[in-house]
Structures are given as structure tokens and as C-alpha cells.
């Protein structure tokens, strides 16, 4: 069996070498470990349940940072195979794809939640465990998601990026990233696709999504609030914002 594994690994490695150029295909910064569970059909056809946990272990990348709060920012891209185009769940008529990069990746957030962190409530302090609890050194931060309803013939891609939210020495550092995906076929039956650690070029795309969030979505959200099209209430905390919250520069630990 190990021999067979080696042969498979060797073939994959050879494939990696033989395939034409992918300069950004090195595993990105990993200062911890990921534990991913994907559940196709979690709530019936066209749904996919996700628990994606990251445990920060700075020694894994020769670091000693003490991060008191880390959380996950999720970026998604949905491909509609039937129409050969991208799919959005909100935004678009007047303001275009207000959160999307040129390649249609966008920070995944409900419009009335002002922070880019998936589970960070509008008070800027509380991480809602229903979506993503706060982690810290050795304490797992788990993102819970349940994408669904997009219909058949969908390819759903996501990158979860764990970032230190509060620390004296490594605040706003990217601690690790994980890529997951699923596909629904003609009948809406969902199957897991590729799930693996993030790589450098997909993290570069994430940085573009952060830029779009800051330069496009933040000012547009302000306009939407002023036009009574958006009430920036997360429905949980009592904080109501006037606009989305810009992200600081995020760098690899």
C-alpha cells in the first residue's frame, strides 16, 4: 500500500513538473494546522455544510507570536457552468460587482455585516461562534458555512484565510489559508471537489479582494446606507454602522 501511495505521489509530482508554468503554486504561509470537514447535501440538494478549523501554532513557522484573537476571512467565487459565467448572490444592478475582483472573487460577507471577518459582529469585538469563533494560540478558530440554493451545475470555490486580529506583535498577520470547493451536477447532487492548503497565487487573489473591499465596497456601502437600501445591523449586536469597515494591510507572518 505505501508503495502504491509513492507511485501516486510520484505521478502527481511529475504532473506538477510537467504541467506548464504555475509560478504561484507554492503552499502559502502555514503557522498552524487546518481541520476541514465538508458535508455534501447537508441540508438537502444543492447545499454543502462546512466546518473549517485553524489552530495557530507559531512554532510551525519558527515564530513565537502570542495572538490573543484570530479569525477567518473567507473569499469565494461561484461558477455557473450552464451559462458559463460567474454567479453572485447579491449586489450588482447599479454598482456592478461591488465586492468582486476582476476574476470574480469576493470577500464572503452578508451585506449588513460591516466587517470582512466572517464571524465578526458589527461591534468589532465579538466573534459569533455560529459563523466563526475567535481562536488564539493553540485554540481552534472554526468557520461554519452552509452554502446552498445556487442550483445545479455550480462550481463553488472558497479560500479561508486565518488572520491574527489582536496581538501586540503579529496583529493583521496572515497565519494560514485553506482552499475548499464543491460541485453540483445536473440533478443538483453535490460532491466535494478539491480541498487543500492555500497557495501563494490564490493568496495574491485574496489580497486583490481585500483591496476591492476597501476601495469599492466600503464607499458603496456608505452610499447604500444613505439611500436606505442597507441597514448595517448584523441582527445580533446592537451596533449599527454607517458603512463597512476597511481592512488594514494584511501580511504573511
Amino acid at each position: 500500500m505505501p508503495g502504491r501511495s509513492l507511485v501516486v505521489a510520484g505521478l502527481l509530482a511529475a504532473l506538477a513538473i510537467l504541467l506548464p508554468g504555475c509560478p504561484g503554486c507554492q503552499t502559502a504561509t502555514e503557522c498552524g494546522s487546518w481541520s476541514f470537514t465538508g458535508n455534501p447535501g447537508a441540508q438537502g440538494p444543492n447545499t454543502y455544510g462546512v466546518n473549517d478549523g485553524f489552530t495557530f501554532t507559531p512554532a510551525n513557522c519558527n515564530n513565537s507570536c502570542n495572538c490573543s484573537v484570530d479569525g477567518i476571512i473567507q473569499m469565494v467565487m461561484v461558477y455557473d457552468a450552464a451559462n458559463e459565467t460567474w454567479l453572485e448572490s447579491a449586489n450588482g444592478e447599479l454598482y456592478g460587482s461591488s465586492r468582486a475582483t476582476a476574476d470574480h472573487w469576493m470577500i464572503d460577507q452578508f451585506d449588513s455585516w460591516g466587517n470582512a471577518y466572517y464571524g465578526l459582529e458589527n461591534d468589532g469585538v465579538t466573534f459569533d461562534a455560529a459563523f466563526n469563533n475567535a481562536g488564539s494560540n493553540g485554540v481552534v478558530s472554526t468557520l461554519n458555512d452552509l452554502p446552498g440554493g445556487q442550483g445545479s451545475n455550480i462550481f463553488f470555490y472558497a479560500l479561508d484565510v486565518d488572520v491574527c486580529y489582536n496581538s501586540k506583535t503579529c496583529q493583521n498577520s496572515i497565519l494560514g489559508s485553506y482552499f475548499w470547493s464543491w460541485h453540483s451536477d445536473n440533478s443538483g447532487t453535490v460532491s466535494s471537489f478539491v480541498n487543500l492548503k492555500g497557495w501563494t497565487s490564490i493568496e495574491a487573489e485574496f489580497q486583490k479582494a481585500v483591496t476591492v473591499w476597501n476601495t469599492n465596497w466600503v464607499p458603496i456601502s456608505k452610499t447604500l446606507v444613505q439611500n436606505n437600501m442597507l441597514v448595517m445591523s448584523d441582527g445580533v449586536s446592537s451596533t449599527i454602522l454607517n458603512q463597512a469597515v476597511a481592512l488594514p494591510t494584511l501580511t504573511d507572518l
Binding site: L12, L15, T27, Q74, N83, A90, S97, F110, Y118
Partner: protein
């Protein structure tokens, strides 16, 4: 002496075994990393190829003339495509030479949900011609589209965020209310697709009657605050039904 030799022998064997294990671990790590890199490369290549298909589709629609795009727009209305996911809408909304009169004529001719995308497009391209359409006509298109919706992304998620169709419906004012009142007894699910959006839908479990309630009250009072708790929504619906 014999014990020492045995100890040395055991130590040597242990050293050889540990060295072999270490080499095997290094080999395994290298193989795992190679396999991981290969998978990353395959995923990146697949995404890249999808991006090329998406770009090609956009270019194809960019090459179409307005007449062709408007035909597709009407067909996508019938399929209940959201404006932001309609290929024809995405292209037409960027153009400055789309005939507002043509769009208005389509709305007048169809009068129902099949005219939703032309109506929303007209609203964004030419507010004057849009406003010249009778509010009853606009309300007929919008309420028929709301009633027929299977997914509600076209409308947004009250009270948190509204899409253009919702704002257009509220703008119609009282002419929209009779049709909305008919939906107050419709307790079918009103889901939105998405990632976190879908989770929020599962949390609040809005129904068609909740959307109808929101629009009726918002038309009557722009400052109305929509309650997210189901029992409070039901109480207000009961009041409206009396």
C-alpha cells in the same frame, strides 16, 4: 562484557531503525509536499481555465447588438434570472445607446413578470422614461415577479439590504398594495441562495408573506422597521389581514 555487546548491538539496531524511520519520514514529507503542490497546480489551472471561459462569455455578449441582447433579456426574465446574474443585463447596463422607448414598449406589451429585467434596466438607464410608465403598470410587473419568485435574491433581504427591484416596488406606492395583500396568506418559503446569505435565510426563514408585509408597511410608512422575529411578523400580518 556480553551485556555491553548486547547493549551496543541493541543501540546500533535502534540507531539504524530510527535513521531509516527518519529517512522514510523525510521521503513521506517530500512526497506529501509534491502531491500537495500538484493538487494546488491542478486547482489553479482549473480556476484559470474557468476564468477564460467566463471572459469569453462576457466578450461574446459584448459583441451582440442591443436588439439581440434585449431579446435575451426578456428570455432571462422568464427564467427569473436576477439582474446581477443576467448576462444580457450585465452588458446592457453598461451601454449608453439602449433605446429607453424600446424597453418601455416591452414593459407595456408584457405587463407581467416577464418584463422585470427590462423594467429594472429602464429604471437604471433612463429615470424619466421609467417614471412616465404608470405606477399601476410598474406595480403589476413587480408584484407578479415577486409572487412567482422561487429564490428571492432579486429582492434582497429585508430589513438588512434591498436590491433595486425592492426599491422600485416601494416607489410604486399604493397601486402595489392590493396585489401585495393577496400574498399575505402565502406562507411558502422565500429563500435566498448564497453562502452566508443562505445561513441567514435558514436563521430567519422568511416566507412570501413576510416580503409582502415588508413592502406594504414600507409603502405606508418609510420609517417602518421590519421585525425579524417570526411571531412579531405574524402579528403584523394578522393585523393586515383583518
Amino acid at each position: 562484557m556480553l551485556n555491553f555487546k548486547r547493549l551496543m548491538l541493541a543501540g546500533s539496531l535502534l540507531f539504524i531503525w530510527l535513521t531509516a524511520c527518519n529517512q522514510q519520514n523525510n521521503q513521506d514529507n517530500q512526497n506529501n509536499q509534491a502531491a500537495q503542490a500538484a493538487q494546488q497546480q491542478i486547482a489553479a489551472a482549473q480556476i484559470d481555465s474557468l476564468q477564460k471561459i467566463v471572459a469569453h462569455t462576457s466578450q461574446r455578449f459584448h459583441s451582440y447588438k442591443n436588439d439581440t441582447l434585449i431579446q435575451i433579456l426578456v428570455a432571462e426574465s422568464a427564467k427569473q434570472k436576477e439582474p446581477f446574474n443576467s448576462l444580457a443585463y450585465r452588458e446592457l447596463v453598461t451601454r449608453k445607446d439602449v433605446s429607453a422607448d424600446t424597453l418601455a414598449a416591452i414593459v407595456r406589451r408584457l405587463k407581467d413578470r416577464n418584463a422585470l429585467l427590462p423594467l429594472i434596466l429602464l429604471r437604471n438607464l433612463n429615470a424619466t422614461v421609467y417614471k412616465s410608465l404608470p405606477a399601476e403598470l410598474r406595480a403589476g410587473v413587480l408584484t407578479d415577479a415577486l409572487r412567482a419568485s422561487k429564490m428571492f435574491n432579486t429582492w434582497g433581504f429585508p430589513p438588512f439590504y434591498l436590491q433595486d427591484a425592492s426599491v422600485a416596488l416601494i416607489d410604486c406606492g399604493r397601486p402595489a398594495v392590493p396585489a401585495l395583500k393577496q400574498m399575505l396568506r402565502d406562507t411558502s418559503a422565500a429563500p435566498v441562495f448564497g453562502s452566508k446569505q443562505y445561513m441567514e435565510y435558514l436563521h430567519y426563514r422568511y416566507r412570501v408573506c413576510d416580503y409582502a408585509l415588508f413592502f406594504i408597511r414600507k409603502i405606508e410608512d418609510p420609517k417602518f422597521i421590519f421585525p425579524t422575529a417570526r411571531d412579531k411578523r405574524d402579528s403584523l400580518i394578522s393585523v393586515e389581514l383583518k
